[in-house]
Amino acid sequence: MWKLFQSIIIILKIFAKTSFSSEVEYRLNAFVELISVIGNLLGSIFILSLFYSSGSTLGGWEWNSSIVVLGIYIFLEGFIISLLQPSLTSLVKHVQNGTLDFILLKPMDTQFYLSSRSISPWGLPSIIGGFSLIIWGISLGSYNPTLIDLMMFLSTIVSSFIILYSLWFIIATTSIWFVKVWNATEVLRATLVAGRYPVSAYPSILRFLFTVILPITFLTTVPAQSVLGMSSISMTLSSLFLASIFFSISRIFWSFALRFYTSASS
């Protein structure tokens, strides 16, 4: 077990190194991404402040609580940009180019390999920005989170991340069937954007998708509630439970999908 853990750490280290060095070769691209992240962050706060400028509340949420929700959203988004987006878009590319063959022939868990293979530093501004927003939102309010609140926050935000990861991985997995039917990369982008705008802005099919199938709001509000003293142990446990369900589904779905893999004809 210890040996397995050790080799996983070595592999992650090398993956981190190799993905950073390939990323740095495109500096201009990197600069553009950084600017867009900062723009996004400021833009979101501005839009949120417009909601509150008339003195109304958003679905019963105070201004400071909404800042926390937004902070969590941006924080999660940073993790997605750094950890999920590079790996899962490369999964889709591997399927399209037929180079998934090489990965399937490696003597290791392919889901782990595909999910950790590439990381990108460009989510870091969002992670830092989101984190600052969370702190700021808490300090604006009158409630001081206890140690238990913080632990619940940590577990729920990890759950949210795992749920997001699993959803993304499931969507990316469908590229095994639909490699030529739809561009899964675009679908992945779309789910990321979904949480940013009010759900009613979407056509009815997508609205159904975003509220029922992809629990975007659940992902941000539950951690926010725990840090604002509005949550409970049972809430935390159920979010952990939900996360483990989603994660198991993503694994089962992956091995199921591989039975149908025909490997792009070269």
Binding site: S7, T18, L104
Partner: protein, 327 residues
């Protein structure tokens, strides 16, 4: 010891016919109209440990499909496979450590980075220690004549250098069964020879089983004593190169040079005349007549030089497949 054993192996691909647009996609989801392609149709063969076997056939014969099933990448539609004692489609880590797949048309090296980085990733995945990795890179690198190419980004390497680095990356874990799908694709003659020599040396050194496809006959003839010929998903031949030629042509080519001039018509009875000039005739003689006819010629005429050969295998095979596709 048997290394690869295949019984009644078949693979059918379902090819979905999708209409364009969202509606087409939805229709595709629920009611697929599909066509079946029978890529491999019930083939049987077995290969011993340490054997080098060539796998040839025209485009679309099902060679790549067969190799992918042998590696466990795709599931067979029916039939049994055993490779190194394992069932490939389970893709157990123990099995994967024993095999490798090299494909001329696809590459595993990371395009923007020097090959050495990809090698280190593989070393970590296979759990090869740092010192051992260094030693293997040095050894295999020497065998492949690779050196500072390993430290230049892959995209700046020539096709030949890239292929050699690709081989190194695929063999770092010293597999004992090698599946090679057109490993010399697009290489010039020198690089082809280098790759061939390397494979031979690897086979000698590690006693590895090598199963190789190529459209360059020279790869097969210089490496493999045994050859499998696949045609439209069926095994057309399994045996030596010589027996394949025998099967393909009832003639042998005989070139004779004479010191005197003889009328050409005298040679008609020995075989069909392929080519001739003043002191030279090139005959195609039925196999069973070769010995008697030549002894008669040697008796009757003053012969200065004689060459008996099988016609070039490329011509024979392409003729066979051409004939078949016309049917």
């Amino acid at each position: 010891m048997i290394s690869i054993d295949v019984k009644g192996l078949s693979k059918n691909y379902q090819i979905a016919e999708k209409e364009p647009g969202l509606r087409g996609s939805l229709k595709y989801l629920f009611l697929r109209t599909s066509r079946e392609v029978k890529a491999v149709q019930g083939i049987n063969f077995s290969i011993n440990e340490g054997e080098m076997v060539g796998f040839i056939g025209p485009n679309g014969a099902g060679k790549t499909t067969t190799l992918k099933m042998l590696c466990g990448l795709i599931h067979p539609s029916s039939g049994l496979i055993s490779v190194a004692g394992y069932k490939p489609q389970r893709r157990s880590p123990k099995f994967l450590r024993k095999i490798t797949l090299v494909m001329g048309q696809k590459q595993q090296l990371i395009w923007d980075l020097p090959p050495i980085e990809s090698l280190l990733v593989n070393a970590a995945i296979y759990g090869i220690s740092e010192s051992e990795t260094k030693r293997r890179i040095k050894n295999l690198g020497e065998m492949l004549e690779l050196d500072d190419e390993l430290y230049r980004p892959v995209r700046k390497l020539s096709l030949g250098q890239r292929m050699k680095a690709e081989l190194l990356a695929s063999l770092l874990h010293l597999p004992s069964v090698l599946f090679l799908d057109e490993p010399t694709l697009g290489l010039d003659v020198n690089s082809q020879i280098r790759v061939r020599d390397f494979l031979l040396e690897y086979n000698r050194k590690y006693g590895a089983t090598i199963f190789l496809t190529s459209h360059y006959m020279a790869d097969i003839t210089s490496l493999c004593e045994r050859v499998l010929v696949l045609h439209k998903g069926n095994l057309f031949h399994d045996g030596s190169m010589a027996s394949l030629t025998e099967k393909l042509t009832p003639y042998r080519s005989v070139k004779i040079e004479f010191s005197n001039l003889y009328p050409l018509s005298e040679f008609r009875k020995y075989g069909s005349i392929h080519e001739s000039n003043d002191h030279y005739v090139h005959l195609l003689i039925p196999r069973e007549r070769v010995i008697p006819n030549i002894s008669e010629i040697l008796e009757k005429y003053s012969v200065t030089d004689l060459e008996i050969k099988d016609p070039p295998i490329e011509n024979l095979i392409s003729r066979l497949f051409l004939k078949d596709s016309k049917k």
